[in-house]
């Protein structure tokens, strides 16, 4: 009975997210608040801070030289294997899995921040 009522209401009424109906509204908004798509996007500054922390805790890196626009090979003097290692550390920190083609392009801090910020699954 309640489900039939709900489907008839859903068919005829457009429901904005913040607006809650009487009986079925609470169920609707509860469903919406449990959905995890697009609402928990990371803050840009938080991404920058975490990326810098990962780079600074890399043993071969001098923490004082790390800025948000540093290039791994040119400024920090790392080689290609170290770059791959930093990318793997970022993968672990943000619980991502970066495909090879994208990972090859990540050569510097700003590129890493941009990729992670635009990735929908970063956490």
């Amino acid at each position: 009975m309640a489900s039939a009522l709900r489907s008839t209401i859903l068919r005829h009424i457009r429901v904005p997210i913040s607006h809650s109906l009487s009986v079925n509204g609470s169920r609707l908004t509860a469903v919406r608040s449990m959905s995890s798509h697009g609402d928990d996007h990371l803050d840009k500054q938080e991404v920058v801070d975490r990326v810098l922390d990962v780079v600074k805790s890399f043993p071969k890196v001098d923490p004082s030289k790390v800025t948000p626009d540093v290039h791994f090979q040119k400024d920090l003097g790392l080689d290609s294997l170290d770059t791959v290692e930093i990318v793997m550390a970022l993968e672990e920190e943000f619980k991502l899995e970066i495909p090879d083609k994208e990972a090859d392009k990540i050569d510097s801090c700003p590129l890493a921040v941009e990729y992670i910020y635009n990735h929908p699954m970063a956490s």
């Binding site: 290609s80 294997l81 791959v84 290692e85 899995e97």
Partner: protein, 141 residues
Amino acid sequence: MASTMKYVRVPPNSASLAEARQRVFEFFKTACRSIPSIMEIYTLDDVTSPSQLRSVISSEIRKNAHITNPKMDQLQRIEPDVIDMLLFKGTEELCNIVEHSKQRHHILGQYVLNREDRTHDIGNKDQGASDFLKSFYKSNY
């Protein structure tokens, strides 16, 4: 497990140095991605951390990095076959570790403990650190 097994199907011949280099990076990434399961299998949580294991893996790879730079030594030419062979051995080692064919003391002794005072860290066969150590290793007198 899936990511370690997929390497076995790849043909053993690298066409060029660039392809061998790509293989090395893929191997490194596969190894790093299996670090969480390795730490769980051998309960290494209180002994080491994932970033230390990553450094260990990269230093092991770096020990053979001289094969890609033939400076002036004729014995170390650019051989993608040699790199393939080393990759095969590395993959075999990784598979053994992931399949729990090894035991905790193997992992600890080989990769976790005593990284600072290993004799082979003192240099590739060309560069020596100190003459005292060199003559010490040769003989007692």
